[in-house]
């Protein structure tokens, strides 16, 4: 994946979606608040609010399979990462400012397209679980005929 695409996937102001499935194949989804990486997207850590991610965390514990889609709301530029969870833990207090800053940046972006900041900031975000996955595959997810194609 190109360096510029990597950067766009990690910018503030992204929407983050998390998909999982249980052992029987029934899918589940929840909104994430932030993603980060320490190794150029070889692994990513996605933060999901404790309040809304019970099913997600349960599924991760059973199947370890996770899909994460990050989208720029202003132009729908989107990328999906799929992989296996290597860790799921409660986010540390020292990660709270990062998570909060990402929510604020997302609120700023939505505010520019008509959703008031106060509404977005009212979304639960902390405490959060931090789920780290090893990225096995990356896909183009920008709407259009190429959506779903693997990115080398």
């Amino acid at each position: 994946m190109s360096q510029s695409r990597n950067q766009r996937c990690l910018e503030p102001g992204l929407s983050v979606l998390v998909g999982t499935a249980d052992a029987a194949g029934m899918p589940s989804c929840c909104r994430g608040i932030a993603i980060s990486t320490a190794d150029d997207l070889q692994t990513i850590t996605v933060y999901v609010p404790v309040a809304t991610s019970h099913e997600t965390i349960q599924n991760v514990g059973v199947t370890r399979r996770v899909a994460v889609t990050v989208t720029h709301p202003r132009d729908n530029f989107a990328t999906q990462f799929k992989g296996s969870a290597v860790e799921a833990r409660l986010a540390r207090e020292d990660e709270a400012p990062f998570v909060r800053a990402r929510l604020d940046a997302f609120a700023d972006v939505l505010d520019r397209i008509g959703v008031p900041r106060r509404v977005t900031r009212g979304v639960a975000h902390w405490p959060a679980f931090a789920v780290t996955l090893r990225v096995d595959q990356t896909f183009e997810q920008t709407p259009g005929p190429n959506a779903g194609r693997p990115i080398a």
């Binding site: 998390v18 499935a21 909104r31 809304t52 399979r65 989107a78 979304v123 190429n146």
Partner: protein, 458 residues
């Protein structure tokens, strides 16, 4: 907490994109945004299939999904567990979903590229409020029409009927209808476009609430939001125009490398920052009369109640317009028209201005002092009466003599003569106010020139 799908219908207006997760046959999840989850009934929803995506392939292997939808006012999220039932490639649900996509596609120059392949119908296995999603409990907002609103709108219907019945000209009818929509429905940005069967286009004949009237603006059948409504003869309500257009433009960018030629984007009529649009076809039987459109900056401005109510109103308006056009076919009379403007006041003797009008044969258009004035049939009408006036000094004309002149190219039936005169009158008011077309009685009009007119043809 379980909820009834019909109790969260605001979530299905497409204002906030929804997410959908599926899993393939091996249990590998996939999660994406969808532009809209469509409400079908209390036990069913539908998703639009626009591309043969991973979501679609997963459903073939493992026919279950999870969707998270969001209330656009409170941002409360709801999670739906779904079982895929079938793909519909025709029928009322397909047509409704397709209209919205076609309109956005046409508006973003993506007609034929960005289209609905199928309406994928799901059974709702469960619908739950996502507990703890918001830090504070959402403040609910009214979803439908209040009794007071109902009373106001019934009065509005009576008022519109009355205005239609009493209108003495097409112009007063259209003006009265738009005034009523503002007074009784608080729709402050509205327009009416009439269908011209001669050139298969819609022409704006009346508008309200815009800085520039836009009268004379045209759109082809099938072009943009309004043209799509006209072609499909179906009402269109868009609640998140900006989001839909961003989505359409994203697809346009993604498709730009393809071999197909993409059309230029058609500018939105009226408000440049409209967030919601309601466009209603005006039809009599199968015949298209025109389209009435309302816009607003509030993405939630128009709801299902307006949709149902205005369809009734649109039928009346269409019949009223049709009747008025029929009446214009009747013989001219000699009595003064009730709504004819007062004669122009005599002006003190002063040097008269000069106006240079040029008719460009190749473009069938008239320019005034090098600025575009009008084209097609209204241009030919103006050129005829100007020429006649110059040659003979006549200033009074009848609709009938225009109709029988083959050089004007009016259709033999339903020629919309009055609407062409309205258009001409408004364009003259805007671009050449010292040349006027005034009504002097039913089926009669006069040319009033307060300037020296120089005519030339190229």
């Amino acid at each position: 907490m379980k909820v009834r799908v019909s109790d969260i219908r605001r979530c299905f207006q497409g204002v906030v994109p929804s997410m959908v997760a599926t899993a393939d046959g091996r249990g590998v999840p996939n999660v994406v945004y969808v532009s809209q989850v469509y409400f079908v009934d209390d036990r069913h929803v539908a998703l639009s299939c626009q591309f043969f995506s991973k979501t679609r392939r997963n459903l073939d292997e493992n026919p279950v999904a999870c969707a998270e939808v969001m209330d656009p006012i409170t941002l409360q999220a709801y999670r739906l567990k779904l079982k895929f039932l079938r793909s519909e490639r025709s029928g009322p649900l397909f047509d409704t979903m397709s209209l919205r996509i076609d309109a956005i596609a046409s508006h973003t120059g993506m007609a034929g590229v960005f289209k609905l392949i199928a309406a994928d119908v799901f059974e709702v296995l469960s619908a739950d409020l996502v507990e703890g999603y918001l830090m504070d409990a959402p403040v609910d907002a009214p979803a439908g029409a209040s009794l007071d609103g109902l009373r106001t709108e019934v009065r509005g219907l009576q008022w519109v009927s009355d205005r239609i019945n009493r209108a003495t000209s097409l112009e007063s009818l259209l003006g009265g209808v738009l005034e009523a929509l503002e007074e009784y429905f608080t729709f402050s940005h509205t327009s009416v476009l009439l269908h011209d069967e001669a050139n298969h286009r819609l022409t704006t004949l009346a508008s309200r609430g815009y800085g520039r009237s836009g009268i004379g603006a045209e759109v082809g059948i099938g072009e943009g939001l309004i043209g799509t409504v006209a072609r499909e003869r179906r009402l269109l309500r868009l609640s998140s125009l900006d989001a839909d257009l961003r989505y359409g433009r994203a697809i346009r960018r993604a498709a730009a490398d393809g071999s197909r030629m993409l059309q230029e984007e058609i500018p939105l009529p009226g408000l440049p920052d409209a967030q919601s649009v309601l466009a209603i076809p005006l039809t009599v039987g199968d015949r298209l009369i025109g389209v009435i459109a309302a816009e607003d900056r509030d993405p939630m401005r128009f709801n299902e109640w307006h949709e149902a109510y205005l369809e009734v109103l649109a039928n009346q308006i269409a019949l009223g317009i049709d009747r008025m056009i029929e009446r214009c076919d009747e013989p001219a009379d000699t009595s003064p028209a009730i709504d004819a403007p007062a004669p122009l006041p005599a002006k003190p003797a002063a040097p008269r201005s000069r106006r240079r009008l040029t008719y460009y044969k190749h473009d069938d258009a008239i320019f005034v002092d090098d600025e575009y004035l009008i084209r097609n049939i209204p241009a030919r009408i103006l050129w005829k009466v100007l020429g006649e006036s110059t040659r003979t000094g006549r200033t009074e004309f009848s609709n009938r003599e225009m109709r029988i002149d083959p050089s004007l190219g009016l259709p033999p039936v339903k020629d919309n003569f009055e609407s062409r005169l309205i258009l001409l009158r408004h364009r003259l008011q805007e671009k050449c106010p010292d040349l006027q077309i005034v009504s002097t009685g039913r089926g009669r009009f006069a040319l009033r020139a307060d300037a020296v007119i120089e005519m030339s043809e190229r």
